[in-house]
Symmetry: C2
Subunit: 156 residues, 2 copies
DNA sequence: TTAATCGTACAGTTTATTCTGTATGAAGTT
DNA sequence: AACTTCATACAGAATAAACTGTACGATTAA
């Protein structure tokens, strides 16, 4: 009776929190899996996750890899256990925000560089379109602001 | 010769900038359409957009509606013109960041409320899981931080 | 060395998204 | 009122994403 309540609440928390996690660019399954690991507070095998999520082991394998890329889970070693074990990282806010802002910062930088190249070409070819040139400058400025904003919410 | 260069550059800018815009949750087409409108600096009809994007008019209709929801374009009235005219809003950074952060803030708030409800239920039913309760509190805190961060990058 | 068990690559299937063409109601024109 | 022209709802086609099952190399156990 008590356990079923705990399971019930766990399910509800997974449902709600994973919605937020999804917004950071994870798939539904990745998000749910992460929250599940976070709530379990112990290393789990792919088989256990597969059982809990009701999805194939292959799905778990690829999802866990994504979560690792996001720095949200860590592989853990345990004596005598042959299977891979994974657990959710603590400090979730810091981890997620860094991964999130980092991705934006990288993208903004990269795009900004591309736009610089375009502007250079613009000038080299002596193209006469003040309005287009002006727009281009605004767009570059956009990326500068964007990068700055994302640096502000970075956590380390 | 000159015009073709301008067209070429326009295309390049669209390609690059739309990648950034896509990151805010717009589809490829929506992003490309918006950048196109932004660069054109004049109100365009659905037919003109359709021609320029090489996509159906229906696509333009739905895309423009999305862009309106994001507050990125405005319908414009012009004497003697029967068709709807749309143009990109100026102040793109401000507009986009507000729409972006606003969406996050709303979501964070809404999810936070759901989690409060869950916590209340937790307490009412006298469920004894200190670890789960602790996790739940952390998750709520997560949403508080998240909301605060998104308020920081809001632009008005 | 053989057998068992692991994680994952890969191909194919299912599901979801994006896009198109037709149809329709609304509004403007004659 | 009849005729155009418009935007968009809707159903279906094309494309993309998510997921599964089989197969295989790698590692451990016997």
């Amino acid at each position: 009776m008590l356990d079923s309540n705990i399971e019930d609440l766990t399910k509800k928390i997974i449902t709600e929190f994973s919605k937020t996690i999804e917004m950071f660019g994870l798939t539904t399954l990745e998000a749910r899996l992460f929250v599940y690991l976070y709530l379990e507070e112990r290393p789990l095998t792919l088989d256990e996750m597969s059982e809990a999520m009701g999805k194939s082991k292959t799905s778990m394998s690829t999802s866990i890899r994504s979560l690792s890329d996001f720095n949200l889970v860590t592989r853990v070693w345990k004596k005598g256990v042959r299977k891979d074990l994974y657990e959710a990282n603590e400090q979730i806010y810091k981890t997620i925000m860094n991964s999130f802002s980092g991705k934006w910062i990288d993208a903004a930088n990269h795009q900004k560089d591309s736009l610089y190249d375009i502007r250079k070409q613009f000038k080299n070819e002596n193209i006469t379109s003040p309005t287009l040139n002006n727009r281009l400058n605004n767009i570059i400025e956009f990326h500068q602001h964007l990068e700055k904003a994302m640096r502000e919410i970075k956590q380390d």
